[in-house]
């Protein structure tokens, strides 16, 4: 299954990708997830069973929200 998140631009989608990618999933064994970016859309892919998927998607959403809030508050003003 995949979860798609549109960003205003591909630059922002790529920043989110690089922020979210480095950490391994904490749970041993279970989750096999992949995050990709195409144009300005970030997608999270996973082929896991629903029970563990829910936990993993929840924490992914928490992380994604934090990254989005950080972008909103701390992006540099675009220079003219």
């Amino acid at each position: 299954s995949s979860l798609d998140v549109p960003f205003p631009s591909s630059r922002e989608a790529l920043i989110a990708l690089r922020s979210l990618s480095p950490d391994k999933e904490p749970r041993k064994g279970g989750i096999s997830k992949e995050i990709t970016v195409k144009d300005n859309t970030l997608s999270r892919w996973s082929a896991d069973e629903a029970r563990i998927l829910r936990v993993s998607v929840n924490s992914f959403m928490d992380h994604l929200l934090l990254v989005l809030e950080t972008m909103e508050m701390f992006s540099l003003p675009v220079s003219q």
């Binding site: 950490d23 934090l66 972008m71």
Partner: protein, 313 residues
């Protein structure tokens, strides 16, 4: 001139600090306080950190009077610590480093404590006692490593105090160790185990001072042994338990007997804070280190002696 911002949140404190060439420009911090009798769980702690980290970041910049453009490097705690809180802080550090186009630097938390202690006290080459909720180590620098001479075989001294505080439901605000210290002052100094029953009342403060005396005597003894081994004439106490005045007093007596000098700091710099990560980051960055985004994963285990100290002779 080099300005480094540091993010710390490996346990229940979350802080952002800014260092400019040895000067602390700002260092705001919050603590996740749990009810008496309860410890802090990773996911709840991470939720707390997520809710406040951006506010603290803004405070740190405002208080320092800086714009993101003024920052040279973004340092964050890579480990050791609790996974979920570490990830929270790393996410924000990675994101602002990219938004501001600045290099990122992953810092060992223990090295942060040591470098902050060295900065504040100006201790030259001390034997370091690192005492906190997660660590109890006697450390000395030699040949590009902070070498561990002694450590706890089981739990950390702060963890021991915190667990005891939980059992007898002492407040966690601002920290169990601080409240034990205040209550222990009320108990008289005991050599034997204090068993205090008055009629139908009992008193526990005596046992708290007994616990402190016992734990701290052990710490003084291993520190003295390491000093003798290294021929060191300086002691630096770092980590949250290091702001305990009784521990400082007992260590001071030992140092005086040996003609050695004791260095310690107060809770602003002893307890986990952002500036300590900024300071270690400052040293690392100046010696040429950076962390690529793909290598910026956090790690729950990360020993003090794994780090090559590239910034000391």
């Amino acid at each position: 001139m080099t300005i480094v911002i540091g993010f710390e949140g490996s346990a229940n404190k979350i802080g952002v600090g800014i260092i400019k060439d040895g000067e602390v420009l700002s260092n705001p911090r919050r603590t996740y306080i749990t009810p008496p009798g309860q410890g802090f769980m990773p996911s709840d702690t991470a939720r707390h950190h997520r809710a406040v980290i951006l506010t603290i970041l803004k405070e740190a910049l405002d208080e320092a009077g800086l714009k993101p453009q003024d920052i040279d490097c973004v340092a964050y705690t890579k480990g050791p610590g609790m996974g979920a809180p570490l990830v929270t802080v790393a996410l924000v550090a990675r994101t602002v480093a990219q938004l501001w186009d600045k290099p990122l630097l992953g810092v060992n938390h223990c090295i942060g404590h040591i470098e902050m202690g060295r900065l504040i006290t100006k201790a030259h080459n001390p034997t370091v006692l690192y005492v906190s909720g997660g660590n109890t180590q006697v450390i000395a620098y030699s040949e590009r490593r902070y070498r561990i001479f002694g450590e706890t075989i089981d739990i950390a001294v702060g963890n021991c105090l915190d667990r005891f505080a939980r059992v007898i439901k002492i407040s966690n605000d601002p920290s169990p160790g601080y409240n034990i210290e205040q209550m222990a002052k009320k108990g008289t100094q005991y050599v034997e185990l204090p068993y205090t029953v008055k009629g139908m009342d009992v008193s526990f403060s005596g046992i708290l001072s007994y616990i402190e005396e016992t734990l701290f005597s052990m710490l003084v003894e291993i520190t003295e042994r390491a000093m003798a081994h290294c021929g060191s004439q300086e002691v630096l106490i770092v980590g949250g338990v290091g702001c305990n005045l009784r521990l400082q007093e007992m260590m001071g007596v030992m140092c005086e007997e040996r003609g050695a000098k004791l260095f310690s700091t107060d809770e602003r710099f002893c307890i986990d804070n952002g500036a300590m990560i900024a300071q270690a980051g400052w040293e690392m960055f100046r010696s040429g280190q950076v962390t690529e985004l793909e290598d910026s994963w956090i790690t729950q285990r990360f020993r003090t002696d794994e780090v090559e100290v590239t910034w000391r002779a």
